[in-house]
């Protein structure tokens, strides 16, 4: 579908209209709001698709707004297009989901308008970040995104833990923003300007560009949730309304990835990449992935669990980026392009399946009014559609063929296994170790989603609410269906997508991945057909055929149909819901094996029967954040001594400051 590029002004305009309609909580206004969201999402996706397929040229615009002398610039290129596509696809799913979900949420709420208004601003902020073409507009859009999402996090501000999560988020978002600002500052000092073109052509000495890289890693990593800066994420994402959680976990983290890719690969530029950066990214990425999945396994609040999985997937993405940096810095642009494509592909995949899972979790919470998976069970029979879509999400995130998560992890593996082209023996052994970490992460993620799906959707209901769950409205199902469809599609037909990714890697890394599609639509051959190939359509076909043949042969056999009976369970009495394995017991062996990483508090209590309690905390709180918090408080206390309360002392302070400033000017 060809979209005239002149439609781009609608991209910021539609969210502004949405913001106005969002202020009203009346039903028609809400419906209009979500209709506009759908339109905006379709537009963003269409523009993105056009940019990626090359039907739309890369365009730059200068806006009339902005400061005098510092006009705002916009630019739509394939990299922006990829992320516009991502934002658009998720938005299209959230739009039909919203009305049904919000209806339950709004009655009796004091500030109904805030939700719509800030959701619109949030979308606007994210879309502006990916099209901004100067540091100035980028930072403004970034702040718009951070602040509006803060308001959405504290939407249920009656509960104190939500306010606490919101404050933590606000604090870390701003420390991160400061780091990003400084990173831009380093480049701007050498390039004498804030437009991205100027930054791109800046001649930065290697040391300073390393400084800029570290600042960018901290800044964008804080938003994306990279270890050890991820602590806000599992606190903040779960407390927002579910469709906003989907946007935050599915899309906002990806905007941070966009910022990092834009900064490192485009603004710093491929020639400036250093092997050390890649090793740092690789290490941080693999540790983040492992840490995220291990903590996800220990959670039983469904949204918190999903939030920890976002940490895991961000780790996988950064691992891919690290591979890209290493291969580019050692002079292998072809492999680097595969690694970058893998990372970007995983970015989109994660957006799809994580949003799907968050929408599914929202639907479950909508019908059971429970967040604790220990109180769910047997929901597949109560909500068959949500259950099916959630299963697709689980299979995708566990990186199982033929779903989309597998394709991007497979590409990451392929890039990592090209390690033999490297000269350094250390790197040659480091890369496969990172790949093994990726394998461990994938397997643990599968364990985690067996737990989630088994406890939530299978078995028998563990609470009255779960046994009487209702189906969710059709719109909510439609949103999930859209994402589930995309998960399957992106898993089965990766070749066109990788080809589109070639338009991104071409200009940045100098290799447009033409090798990946030399054998046509059916075969994905990232390096060469002899090295590795994967034919997902054929795998699906073969699986389907085997299944069909087996079922057919067996059905024609002597016994047909099935007989319903009581569960056997080794001949014990009929199992009751309380006899089922719980999520905690499912994760217990893994907890024991990886115990050293967790801050565990467990014990038995006797209060009318024996109760077992288990509390798993993030060790980093105690090791890293509490000391920092104490340090900051201590420093604040020292500074507070200045606050003597006497007027003349304050005047003397101002006077001294003035004198010092004058002295600085005089230098």
């Amino acid at each position: 579908m060809a979209v005239p590029v002149s439609l781009w002004p609608a991209l910021p305009a539609l969210p502004l209209v949405m913001a106005v309609t969002g202020l009203s909580a009346r039903r028609p206004a809400v419906l209009l709001f979500f209709a506009l969201m759908l339109l905006d999402g379709l537009l963003a996706a269409a523009l993105g698709l056009g940019l990626l397929t090359g039907q739309l040229p890369t365009v730059s615009h200068s806006l009339v707004t902005g400061l005098p002398g510092l006009a705002w610039h916009l630019r739509l290129d394939p990299l922006s297009g990829w992320f516009l596509l991502l934002i658009g696809l998720v938005q299209v799913a959230v739009a039909p989901y919203g009305p049904g979900y919000v209806r339950e949420l709004l009655p009796g709420h004091r500030t109904p308008g805030a939700l719509g208004f800030f959701t619109a601003l949030f979308l606007l902020g994210m879309q502006l970040v990916v099209v901004a073409d100067d540091a100035f507009l980028f930072m403004i859009a970034w702040e718009l995104m951070s602040l509006s999402s803060y308001v959405l996090v504290v939407f249920h501000h009656q509960r104190s833990e939500n306010r606490r999560a919101g404050f933590l988020y606000l604090l870390m978002a701003h420390v991160g923003a400061l780091a990003i600002l400084l990173a831009f500052g380093v480049l701007a000092t050498h390039g004498h300007g804030f437009a991205f073109d100027t930054l791109r052509s800046a001649d930065v000495p290697p040391l300073w560009s390393t400084v800029a890289f570290v600042l960018a890693l901290v800044g964008f990593g804080m938003k994306a949730g990279v270890l050890p800066l991820h602590v806000w994420l599992p606190e903040a994402h779960p407390v927002a309304p579910s469709h906003v959680s989907a946007l935050m976990s599915g899309v906002m983290l990806k905007v941070a990835v966009y910022g990092f890719v834009r900064f490192t690969f485009d603004l710093c530029g491929a020639p400036a990449l250093q092997t050390g950066w890649g090793v740092a990214l690789l290490t941080v990425g693999s540790l983040t992935a492992l840490y995220g999945v291990l903590f996800a396994l220990m959670q039983h609040d469904i949204k918190r669990l999903l939030a920890y999985h976002s940490v895991e997937n961000i780790g996988i993405i950064f691992l891919g980026l690290g591979l890209a940096v290493i291969f580019r810095a050692t002079g292998h642009p072809g492999v680097a392009a595969v690694a970058l494509a893998a990372a970007l592909y995983h970015t989109l995949n994660h957006a799809l399946f994580k949003s799907l899972l968050f929408l599914g979790a929202g639907a479950v919470m909508h019908s059971t009014h429970e967040r604790d998976i220990e109180r769910m069970g047997g929901l597949l029979r109560r909500m068959p559609w949500t259950g099916t879509f959630f299963l697709v999400g689980c299979l995708s995130i566990s990186a199982l063929p033929p779903f989309n998560g597998f394709v991007s992890e497979w590409l990451t593996f392929q890039a990592a296994l090209q390690t033999w082209v490297l000269d350094s023996g250390l790197l040659r052994s480091l890369l496969p170790i990172a790949a093994a970490m990726l394998a461990l992460t994938g397997a643990l993620a599968a364990a985690c989603f067996v737990k989630v799906y088994g406890v939530v959707f299978l078995g028998q209901g563990r609470s009255r609410h779960a046994r009487h769950a209702r189906r969710v409205p059709r719109g909510m199902r439609a949103g999930q269906a859209w994402l589930a469809l995309l998960c399957v599609l992106f898993g089965i037909l990766p070749v066109p997508i990788v080809r589109a990714l070639g338009t991104i890697t071409g200009p940045i890394l100098g290799d447009d991945l033409h090798a990946a599609s030399v054998q046509g639509l059916l075969w994905l051959t990232p390096i060469s057909p002899k090295t590795a190939s994967y034919g997902p359509p054929l795998v699906v076909l073969a699986l389907g055929l085997t299944w069909w043949l087996t079922a057919r042969l067996l059905r024609r056999g002597r016994a047909r149909g099935v007989v319903s009976c009581e569960p056997w369970d080794c001949g014990f009495s009929r199992p009751t819901p309380r006899m089922q394995y719980t999520a905690t017991s499912f994760a217990q062996p893994i907890l024991r094996v990886f115990r050293v990483l967790f801050d565990v508090e467990e014990g038995l209590e006797e209060r009318g029967g024996i109760h077992y309690h288990l509390h798993v905390r993030d060790r980093l709180w105690r090791l890293l954040y509490e000391p920092i918090g104490r340090g900051v408080l201590g420093a604040a206390r020292q500074v507070a001594r200045l606050q003597s309360g006497r007027l003349r002392a304050y005047l003397a302070g101002s006077f001294a400051t003035l004198l010092m400033l004058l002295w600085v000017i005089g230098l």
């Binding site: 069970g377 259950g387 093994a436 959707f457 190939s533 056999g557 016994a559």
Partner: protein, 316 residues
């Protein structure tokens, strides 16, 4: 051999020879225990009988329970079929490389574990939980071992790897030795054999695989059992053909095919005997010893990688 015939052969070989290998191992064990043991063809009879029985489905089960046997069987069989048995000229191998093979096995395992959780009994959850623990520790070890091979052959495509192995000059590679040992350990764990799990156990608190399929009956049970046998054969073929590719047929001539078939049968018989002997000699481990066992496998694979990097590739 004709391409289509070869593909058909792959599927049929794994489907039909799997019960035989399992029967052979059982027989070796019986002989070592001074029993006569069941006939070699007993496996086929059991499958046939199960297929003829009506399938009981617990009333607490969901549709996942009923589709799981088909998914498990289809994914295991497909994974096996991509593994070259006779020679490197296998078109299926380019459809799914070794990573996809591991992924397909993981797909089957995912549904197997879900099926265990589905009925809502304590045993099922127990089995699923343990299976996922074991597999999540085994998967990095198996991939690491395979990586060592692929780093030497510069490919993850199993046909290319086999081709490389057949055509490269004979060399003593320390990395292959370690990778072989690692794959042996992992293979035992993944196929649920002693000392990790006991395939003969039933109604024991130590069971893993059996606990998950406890409720199954009739044709569903037949598929689950069959899939487990195919998985055993898959690992056996993986081991013998990657590390001892002797006798494999590079050209595809009729005599070559016959030689390759004889060679692979012989090698599999040796593997089956070895498995029977180790199972008779070893005792099953406690569950929490298994992580250390799999750590050892991972360490072996890692040593394989390191010795590849340090000793085999050499300088610069």
């Amino acid at each position: 051999m004709n391409t289509g015939l070869l593909v058909l052969f792959q599927f049929l070989f794994f489907a039909l020879a799997a019960p035989l290998l399992a029967g052979w191992v059982k027989r070796v064990k019986a002989r070592l225990q001074n029993r006569r043991g069941t006939p070699l063809l007993q496996g086929y009879r059991e499958l046939w009988k199960l297929m003829g029985k009506q399938a009981l489905v617990p009333d607490t089960a969901s549709p996942v329970y009923r589709i799981a046997p088909y998914v498990v069987f289809a994914s295991t069989l497909l994974a096996a079929a991509t593994l070259p048995v006779l020679g490197p000229r296998l078109p299926l191998a380019s459809m799914a490389d070794i990573i996809v093979l591991v992924g397909l096995l993981a797909l089957g395992r995912f549904f197997l574990a879900l099926a265990g959780m589905d009925v809502g009994t304590a045993f099922g959850g127990l089995g699923s939980s343990r299976e996922m623990l074991i597999s999540s520790l085994a998967e990095p070890a198996i991939l690491m071992a395979v990586f060592t091979l692929t780093l030497t052959a510069h490919s993850t495509n199993l046909a290319s790897v086999t081709d490389f192995l057949l055509h490269s000059a004979p060399a003593l590679r320390p990395s292959f030795l370690f990778a072989l040992m690692a794959l042996l350990l992992v293979g035992i764990a993944e196929t649920g054999r002693i000392p990790v799990d006991n395939p003969a156990t039933h109604l024991e608190l130590t069971m893993v695989h059996e606990a998950m399929i406890l409720e199954y009956s009739g044709r569903h049970l037949a598929l689950m059992e069959w899939a487990a046998q195919i998985k055993l054969l898959l690992y056996a073929v993986l081991l013998v053909n990657l590390f001892f590719p002797w006798g494999m047929d590079a050209q595809g001539t009729p005599t070559g095919t016959l030689v390759a078939l004889t060679a692979v049968t012989f090698k599999l018989a040796v593997v089956g005997t070895a498995l029977g002997v180790t199972e008779s000699v070893l005792a099953k481990m406690r569950l929490f010893k298994v992580p250390l066992y799999l750590d050892m496998a991972f360490l072996l694979a890692l040593l394989g990688l390191l010795s590849h990097v340090i000793l085999e590739v050499g300088s610069r």
